[in-house]
Subunit: 219 residues, 2 copies
Amino acid sequence: MEIKVLKNILSVNEQIAQKNRGLLDKNNIFTINIMSSPGAGKTSLILQTIKRLKDKTRIGVIEGDVSSSVDAETVGKEGVPVIQINTGGGCHLDANMVNNALSNLPLPDIDLLFIENVGNLICPASFALGDHKRVIVSSIPEGHDKPLKYPLMFHEANIVLLNKIDLLPYVAFDMKAFSQAIRNINEKLEIIPISCTTGQGIETWVSWLVAQMRKKNST
Amino acid sequence: MEIKVLKNILSVNEQIAQKNRGLLDKNNIFTINIMSSPGAGKTSLILQTIKRLKDKTRIGVIEGDVSSSVDAETVGKEGVPVIQINTGGGCHLDANMVNNALSNLPLPDIDLLFIENVGNLICPASFALGDHKRVIVSSIPEGHDKPLKYPLMFHEANIVLLNKIDLLPYVAFDMKAFSQAIRNINEKLEIIPISCTTGQGIETWVSWLVAQMRKKNST
C-alpha cells in the first residue's frame, strides 16, 4: 500500500496571505505591516510618514482595530485612501480581513500601503498578511523589558522604531538593556529612535522605508 | 421523541474558574485580576501596594507573561510568595494556569492575592480566572482613546487606575474624552488617577482595595 505524504501544507491564512502578496506585487504596491502595543504610536507614525512622502508617493492605509473608526477618520483627513477593519473582538488582523480591505481600495492608485495591525504585542506576529516588511513600534514609556517579555514579535520584525524618545528624560528606561535584549533575539535588527511628537528620527525612518521600496521595485 | 435541551453549560475554563473561586473563598483570599496593555504599570502597582500593605496584610502574587520571569524576580525581592506563569505564546491567562499556580502557593498564609495578567488589552477580558475583582491599569502615554478601541476590557473592569499621571504635562491626553468614553461603556466605573513613580493617588487606590476586602470578608 502506498502511503500518501502531504508536504508543505499551508494554513488557510498562509494561502490567502500569498494571494494578497500576489495581488500587491501585481499592482507594484510596497506593503508595510505595523505592529505595536496599544497606544505606542502606530497611527502617529503613519501620519508623520504621509506628511513627508505624499508629494512623491501615492499612499494607502488599512486600519485595524477591535472597535471604532477613529484611526481611519484621522488618517482620512490627510486625503489618502483608507479602509477601517473592525475585528469585533479579534486580537489581530488576518489575511482574509486584509483581502477584503484590498478589494475595497483603489489598488492601481497606490504605491505604498500601510497596514496598521490591532494594538497587541502577541497575536499579530503569528498571522501572515501578505505584506513585504514588518515594523514594530515600541515606545519609551512601555519600558525596556518588552523584548524580553514579547520575544516573538521582535523576532519577526524587520525594523524596530523606538517611539516617544522625547519622554526619555521623564521615565526610567535603560537603552542599553533594550538594545541588548533585541540583539539576543535578532542580532541584525536595526533600532531607530523616533518621536512622532517632535519629529526626531522620522527622516531616518523615511529614508529606510524609501530604500526598501527601491530595493523591492528594482528586483 | 423527547428532545434533550442542555442549559447553562459552562465552558471548561468557567468550570475551573469556579473551582478556583471556591478554593480562594475557602482560604479567605481576596483576589484581584490586574489587566492592562504591555508596560502600563501592573508590576509597579503591585510593588507600590505591597509597600503600603505588607505590615497589615499577607500578600501573594501570580505573575503572567508570555516569556521571562523578570516580574516575579522583581516582586520576589519584596519578600512575598510569588509564582511566575509563562504562557509560552498564549495571549492571556486562563483558569487552569491559575489553578496550577494556586497549588504552588502557601494559600493559608495569604489574605490578598494579585494575579498580574499578560500585557494585552483584548484577550484577558474574555477569560474568567476565579478572581473577586478586575482592575484595569490604563496609562497616560497610551492616549485617551483606549476605551473606544478596546471596550470589552473596560466593560469587564471593576475599577480603572489611570497610571503615569506624572507624564500628563508632556503628552497630549484629553482627560474629559477618556472619562466620557468610559462613562459610555460603564456609567458607574470609577477612575483613580495614579502615578507609581511619584506615589500620587496610591493611597486612594489602597483605600478602595481595603474597603473591597472588608466588604467581601463581612459577607
